[in-house]
């Protein structure tokens, strides 16, 4: 027993002596913590965009890249890690991770990205101004225009929508889709999932009651897009998606959204402004509204298989086309 106490004391003494040594390592570079909710192509593109933009701005930054793997409690432990590391600035990609950062970090500026409705998520008081130390970029999608585009390709009477009931931004978007359908006089058919394994079953359940499917920027559903596209193609139902990056690989009729990489670059610009001394509270939430920010992908192979003709002006306005199994990117 005495030996043990001796050991313990020695151990403690070592700790006490080494503590200042460990802590006395002031970062010469800017340390930026990036926390994203889950690895998927769109969010990975945001992460890359931020880093590329800061490199272009010649900011010497060191990154702590973290991924919560879809788990909310992991998101808050990442936030705690950033707090104890004293990062100079934290970036939250997607709603839950941004909320975790905003709840945990004290006195560290936070920039959110890919958050659909930052006001509803409690990150900022209004879209016109930032929170006390929070501001960022929203990925609110032009839902109504997307559905109108779909209506020009196919006469849709009943629109189906699948979303994740536990994903805040998906729930917000579902409300907007419902509203848009009401305004356009279309019947809105919704179903929800709680995890990616349910997506296929959910699609099968509503596919016979709809003329087209709408997929929002819902992380869980997008990660199961292969199952959605599979069922939809078998039942000859077109998909309108809000996520062009995943539409490059799956048979989706049309996808209209942002280039998430460009959104990463825009987020990077915000980060640079804050690092140069601008207060987050003075920066309003930014939206991706410039035409150069928007991506429109039209899959002509899918259109042909479903016997639909895409109006010429839509084909012209698309910056990505899939034809004969090839992806053509227009500048």
């Amino acid at each position: 027993m005495r030996k043990r106490i001796g050991l313990l004391l020695t151990f403690l003494a070592v700790l006490v002596i080494s503590a200042p040594v460990l802590a006395a390592n002031p970062p010469k570079r800017v340390l930026i913590g990036i926390s994203k909710i889950v690895a998927h192509p769109a969010l990975d593109a945001v992460e890359k965009g931020i880093q590329d933009e800061l490199a272009a701005e010649k900011i010497n930054a060191q990154y702590d890249l973290q991924n919560a793997n879809g788990d909310i409690s992991t998101a808050s432990s990442i936030a705690n890690k950033f707090q104890s590391e004293r990062v100079n600035l934290a970036v939250g990609i997607a709603t839950p991770t941004s909320q975790a950062l905003a709840n945990t970090l004290k006195g560290i500026p936070i920039v959110f990205s890919a958050v659909t409705d930052p006001v509803k998520a409690g990150l900022v008081p209004s879209l016109r101004q930032g929170g006390k130390s929070v501001t960022g970029v929203s990925d609110m999608t032009p839902v109504k225009q997307q559905i109108q585009l779909l209506l020009r390709i196919k006469k849709v009477k009943r629109l189906g929508h699948i979303y994740t009931s536990s994903e805040e931004n998906a729930v917000v978007l579902a409300g907007i889709v419902k509203q848009a359908c009401k305004e356009l006089g279309i019947e809105y058919v919704e179903t929800t999932v709680s995890k990616s394994a349910e997506v296929k079953q959910a699609v099968q359940a509503i596919i016979h009651r709809v003329d087209a499917l709408y997929i929002s920027t819902d992380n869980t559903v997008v990660s199961a897009l292969s199952a959605v596209a599979d069922v939809a193609m078998k039942n000859r139902v077109p998909i309108m998606s809000a996520d062009p990056s995943s539409a490059e690989t799956y048979p989706v009729l049309a996808a209209w959204g942002f280039d998430y990489y460009k959104m990463g670059r825009a987020t990077g610009r915000l980060v640079a402004e804050i690092l140069r001394g601008k207060k987050p509270a003075q920066i309003p939430t930014r939206f991706m509204t410039k035409t150069s920010d928007i991506d429109l992908l039209i899959n002509l192979d899918v259109a042909r298989k479903l016997g639909l003709t895409v109006p010429k002006d839509i084909v012209k306005s698309a910056n990505q086309l899939v034809e004969n199994g090839k992806l053509i990117k227009k500048k």
Binding site: A197, S226, A227
Partner: protein
């Protein structure tokens, strides 16, 4: 719709057979399932991406599940941990392991990959109507797994496993080590669960670390529905058949909830509630059956 229910019911039916072994044959409530199901999916997908032969990948998935189950049994046997806790421990650890297997990603899609299902589809196109190809295949798979399992339970080892669940003391008095038996049984059970996960990944087109969430509850519900179908039987062939049927019925109920739930203002968010209520109802009914038997016996004795 019908073939969708049947295919899903059979895919998950393999998992239900695994749950049946632990809960009913071994009397060992095992929660490893929530982790070993996505483990099978992750191993399958990762092997396919590495270019391993698909059938070999299936075997790797099965072996991974067996290992996971053995870990649970070892924790329970040697650290004197209650079986529920041992399962939860393994399940929790598997979450991290699954993400590692998937290359530090939570979700890996199978893009334009040759899967067992696409091979079978190519093989059977023209012979069987397109909608039913997968159904035919999974009927065969389920029957093969079921028959192999029945044969296993006819061997001395299988018999002893069955006896262990009934009366541990008797097995010990016969000079058999119950720890070894439990390790084999729980391992086999999770092997089947992982096999089911491997097929599910191919059917869904991706492996996801969250695939196993709540799987154990659907497995249990399926086992109970299956038992509900037949009056008492102690023939293993009948019992395994009922487990498969229970799985199909359970998926049928969930489908109906999704299909027609909106007619009674029910949303898919309520499905978890329905799962729970369903299990409780089954328990209540089976309890009242027992009570009736007691009442009858009492009447006769009077």
């Amino acid at each position: 719709m019908i073939e969708g229910i049947l295919v899903e019911g059979l895919i998950y039916g393999i998992m239900v057979l695994g749950v049946f072994i632990t809960f009913r044959v071994l009397d060992f409530p095992d929660l490893t399932v929530d982790g070993s199901f996505p483990l099978g999916a992750a191993l399958m997908v990762q092997c396919m991406l590495l270019g391993v032969n698909n059938w070999l990948a299936l075997l790797v998935a099965f072996a991974g599940g067996v290992l996971a189950g053995m870990v649970t049994a070892l924790i329970h046997n040697h650290l004197k941990v209650p079986n529920l806790l041992a399962g939860i421990l393994t399940m929790t650890m598997l979450y991290s392991i699954n993400i590692r297997i998937l290359g530090n990603r939570a979700n890996v899609p199978i893009l334009n990959q040759e899967t067992i299902l696409t091979q079978i589809t190519d093989r059977l196109t023209g012979i069987v109507p397109d909608d039913y190809i997968l159904l035919v295949f999974f009927v065969v798979v389920a029957i093969v797994v079921k028959v192999l399992l029945d044969l296993f339970f006819r061997t001395d080892l299988g018999m002893t496993l069955g006896a262990l669940g009934n009366n541990e003391q008797m097995v010990i008095s016969q000079g058999v080590n119950p720890k070894t038996l439990k390790t084999i049984g729980v391992g086999l059970s999770n092997g089947l669960v992982a096999l089911s996960g491997a097929f599910a990944a191919q059917y869904l087109g991706f492996a996801d670390v969250g695939l196993g969430q709540g799987i154990i509850i659907s497995g249990l519900a399926s086992v109970m529905i299956g038992e509900f179908l037949v009056m008492k039987s102690n023939r293993i062939g009948v019992l395994t058949f009922c487990a498969l049927m229970g799985s199909i019925l359970f998926h049928g109920v969930m489908y109906v909830g999704r299909y027609y739930g909106y007619l009674i203002k029910m949303t898919p968010n309520d499905l978890n509630l329905i799962k729970g209520v369903l299990i409780i109802l089954l328990l209540v009914i089976s309890q009242s059956k027992k009570l009736k038997k007691f009442a009858l016996k009492a009447m006769v004795q009077k």
